[in-house]
Assembly symmetry: C2
Homo-oligomer: 119 residues x 2
């Protein structure tokens, strides 16, 4: 493999809420995603999910709190916990989770992205 | 859990080659490490290992090539592959790998750090 430059990879797509795989480690994937506006409430029954903000600001709403993340901040959403990502302005995020995780978890719908799309 | 600010965590330690755990995702750990100078040749027989440069520049030497990484660049070292990290000046790095991985892999020695040390 070659080294991966996060900003170069981010320059290769512009759609929102559609994670792109940039690397794999064992059976885990590193994905980049641009988010803007409201996502859907969902959970991932079988896995935790890590978010690292590369640029911009986002929120993750939970049933009992809201976490605000800026550049260089991260959060691990525990498996099974309902959450809803949100960004007022476009935010660029790295997600790390096992291969095969669907972005909308248990809530399939309009925002469900095709999986394993590389950039 | 609370959100994790990478720069705040990096400000909490100054030793080199001694990874500090900042978060867990399933049975994986996110670690921060400050590196400077030469590490030892080693490999991890059972797992890939992901490096993301947060600040500074580092090299990863392999038997057949050298990869240079700057801020915002990442590389996944495949399992079983001999490698030697190096940084001329201090470099701040995030490592992602399964819980329990020893920093020096198969090459125990002076630079072997105690494991599962949180910051």
């Amino acid at each position: 493999m070659s080294k991966i430059n996060l900003r170069d990879k981010l320059a290769k797509f512009s759609d929102h809420w559609s994670p792109k795989v940039i690397a794999e480690m064992n059976d885990y994937q590193f994905k980049l995603v641009k988010i803007k506006g409201d996502f859907v409430w969902h959970n991932h029954a079988d896995t935790d999910e890590a978010f690292i903000v590369i640029e911009g600001e986002m929120k993750i709403e939970f049933e009992d709190k809201t976490v605000e993340l800026g550049e260089g901040e991260m959060y691990v959403v525990p498996k099974g916990i309902e959450h809803k990502p949100y960004a007022e302005e476009e935010c660029k995020v790295m997600i790390i989770e096992p291969r095969g995780v669907v972005n909308t978890g248990n809530t399939e719908g309009e925002l469900t992205a095709s999986n394993d799309e590389w950039v």
